[in-house]
Symmetry: C2
Subunit: 181 residues, 2 copies
Amino acid sequence: MSDAQPEPTLDRPAVLERKGAFADRDAWIASGWCRLESALEVVGTRSAMVLVREVFYGATRFDELVRRTGLSEAVASGRLKDLVGHGLLERRPYREPGARTRDEYVLTDLGSRLFPVVVGLMAWGEDLRDDHHSGVQLVHRDCGAALEATVRCTAGHDVPLDEGAVRLKDEDWARGAVRRA
Amino acid sequence: MSDAQPEPTLDRPAVLERKGAFADRDAWIASGWCRLESALEVVGTRSAMVLVREVFYGATRFDELVRRTGLSEAVASGRLKDLVGHGLLERRPYREPGARTRDEYVLTDLGSRLFPVVVGLMAWGEDLRDDHHSGVQLVHRDCGAALEATVRCTAGHDVPLDEGAVRLKDEDWARGAVRRA
DNA sequence: CTGTATCCCAGCGGATACTG
DNA sequence: CAGTATCCGCTGGGATACAG
């Protein structure tokens, strides 16, 4: 098999299997079919991500967020407004004893669901620069072990890349006739 | 304890617990301590993300990537070069029978470790726009259930947001005495 | 303290035309 | 087919100054 093997398959990395009609589609992407683009429109910027990160770290007040992100006030202000508008954060009035009422930013449920993404990006950034001795680390509060993001299916199985598949929704796949209009 | 409680704690959303010296630091962020920023410098743009997504979907050739991402050739070319430079993708020569040798882009191990991030963003994009009936879906090849990204510690526990903690590395926590200038 | 308003610059990214 | 080169508009984001 040394002169015309059609598929070397030597050590080709795993990719997602293409199911059904997905394999044929060409231009389904640009039209925004993929929710990745929706997500990136909201949290695809550096400023959005670092603000979300700081809120995960427990920052709530404007000046705290500005200080800890290093963003300018103008950028922070605008981006926070976006994040509130998209339902990721919520403004909530609060009052320290003896002080006047102020607002603070807190995570909504939608926002907190970004947790795996933030963890995944931080872990990957760690891989990227193999300096494992400095910086910040996320750990399990109880056992102290480092956090990582993993992929799982809703049936509970761990899913490595080569066991994943991609398909178009609402097409008859695996059963046919899954009437779902 | 009903007249001067310092922390209402009514329905305050969960955040990460701040461990040790982390709680005191102010300006540790801007200096790039957090690996989130390193990650975003590489995959923080739309073009990078959609290219990575298409490679996960199994696209390998330049024109295929351009067509399916909707990026211009110039942008795709430059971004691919970046991704190869950062070790996320790899150029690999291949030859279809009877055709001349060409290059294709394949995932490296580093690149494939972005899988949880891509899954997490897609799942979150789904939450964002509650149209659950159209678009693309990632599923477990074997059982057909949808994929989701979850956070786990290296000891194997599932870690919800309120069980996570953040700390500075190489500081005396849980053991003490890690002198580090 | 919590922003808003301006100005200004760098980088992303589209369009088009051109090379190997 | 697989890019590169050029041009050019849009937006992200820093700095500074100002306002409630």
